[in-house]
Subunit: 345 residues, 2 copies
């Protein structure tokens, strides 16, 4: 039962992360603002890389910071790391133990860049090599598939962004996240019911855009890790550049489409999927129009602002993956072939 209880723990963990780390985030932001930072260079893998995708949009939109996702093999196998002058270098890892992510931060430090680690293990090697550490305090994550450390990583990024921008309105919205998450989790039983319809699917695509590009990737990853379903994530724009050709009638498509700046193109994509392709669409949204188009609507609270919606949208997605795994007869707590800590080099 560890995966299910870890999914349900998330509102409490997020509430406590905000309370415990707010001051640290403000202190880190002040220190970063004393340096000349032109862009962010971010190293992560797996679930943490999806948190990095959120950082790409959030730090760009709220803080004007471009973000480059690191290619760790340039640091390890190629031994030709790029010149990181004027970069803020961030490493994200639940365990803090992935040697290739550590290599990126060691090199960044050697080059004199400010370095920040976001991790659930403040005693880990990745935390040890960084100037600054934002610890998630999520408690031990027993399930192999990451859930509470993913939302913790998103919250750490949102904290950093808000500390850098200093926007009062944003601080107020952060205080409401845990409550929105609690409301979203009330759908547990209805999601368990809704997934029955999908017990025999073996492939799907997941669409999201902007802040929720990360949600599409993370939803797809949970599906692959837990229920062994081929699930490919796309921005709705990239999907039009070729992959849309794959669709056949009844093909299951998952869409993350909360209200916000990219809602209009997401809505028109959902309409097209339903009407032109007769796709079977599962929609996470807080908009009645989008939900009405879905074969399976997964609603979230209506007043969640778009920039924080990835923290809420991922909950019905996690529940969907969990319940689908169970009805497919697999063990969600012990997925085959993967380990909790993957030591890629």
């Amino acid at each position: 039962m560890s995966l299910h209880s870890e999914i349900r723990e998330q509102p409490d963990k997020i509430r406590s992360l905000l309370a415990v780390q707010k001051e640290t985030a403000v202190r880190i932001a002040r220190a970063i603002q004393k340096r000349q930072v032109r862009y962010v260079f971010l190293a992560a893998r797996g679930t943490s890389d999806n948190a990095g995708r959120y950082a790409n949009y959030l730090l760009g939109a709220q803080n004007g910071l471009p973000l480059a996702l690191a290619t760790p093999s340039l640091f390890t196998y190629y031994k030709q790391p790029p010149v990181l002058k004027d970069a803020l270098v961030i490493g994200i890892s639940q365990s803090g133990r992935s040697p290739d992510i550590v290599s990126v931060l060691v090199e960044a430090r050697r080059q004199g860049c400010p370095t920040l680690t976001i991790t659930n293990e403040p005693g880990s090697p990745l935390a040890g090599v960084a100037d600054f550490v934002l610890a998630l305090g999520a408690g031990r994550e027993k399930a192999v598939a990451a859930t509470k450390t993913y939302t913790g990583e998103l919250m750490a990024i949102a904290l950093l962004s808000t500390a850098l921008s200093g926007e009062q309105k944003a601080w107020g919205e952060l205080e409401r996240v845990a409550g929105w998450m609690e409301t979203a989790l009330e759908a547990d039983a209805s999601v368990a019911e809704a997934v029955q319809r999908y017990h025999d699917i073996d492939q799907t695509v997941v669409l999201g855009r902007g802040f929720n590009y990360a949600t599409a990737f993370e939803w797809a990853l949970k599906r692959k890790e837990l229920s062994y379903i081929i699930a490919e994530p796309y921005s709705s724009a990239d999907f039009l550049h070729g992959p849309i050709a794959m669709l056949e009638r009844g093909f299951p498509v998952m869409a993350v489409a909360p209200r916000g700046r990219v809602f209009k193109p997401m809505l028109s994509m959902i309409r097209r999927l339903k009407h032109d392709f007769q796709a079977e669409v599962v929609v996470i949204s807080n908009d009645a129009q989008a939900l009405a188009l879905a074969a399976t609507p997964l609603p979230i609270p209506s007043d969640v602002p778009e920039w924080l919606s990835p923290l809420v949208n991922i909950l019905p997605a996690q529940l969907f993956a969990y319940h689908l795994t169970k009805i497919k007869g697999f063990d969600p707590d012990h997925p085959r072939s993967i380990q909790k800590v993957t030591e890629t080099r």
Copy 2:
């Protein structure tokens, strides 16, 4: 027959691109070197985004330049573009007509950044807004699925990188690419034979790493566009972080594994796929050990250096996708549901 003839035209187009654009690339490199450039900010979609993945590794390894892949929606829907100070901004688009990619370059120019367009259409809007243009000169690409413009984009990037580094050895190796491509195309009939075995596959993963991370993405994209097969691309490192759980006995896995700096981890991944997962592995390589592990070996010439191997490796991959499409009974020249120019915003 346009797709097949365009695949076969590639060595000639690459030879002529090198001859025609070498001086332009050197001139552009000199102009860029007069500016303070800390990193590259690159905007592209679809096939051109895969060329951008090559640029990420090549400009990092050979030129010390970190690279950020742009998130065009921050410029269009969000209207909150990041601050691009000290970035070289590159747009890549076959048609030069994707409005969101144009938006990125317009904003970059407004911010005073040096801008470069790589396109097959030097009269296009994207070329019009850039300080510098590298034109592919590939001739009109009639087939919907891009082939000769993809290798043209890779060559344009390799030219730029070599012009920036000024390495004599690299110039000599560039001269040999067209010849290696001609040799690789001799496999046409044998690939047509080899794909018979895969006429009923409907899903696959494609693995590549480092310079050939781009090849994995582009091979997967051709398969999706042309033969409607779910084909998900991964770095072999990311694949271990979860998705490997999807594999079942006999699952088809494509691996791009030429000799070079990431050959060792790719080889050990191929061994694991074959022995631990009984996967059906298709391997593109110039190494006898890697090819010997394959159910279907797709050899390339043995003396291709790793940094230029993406230009050669993609040819058996394109032939594979083309012939598979034919035996599946689809029309490779007119894939359903996609257009040549996708005007995403």
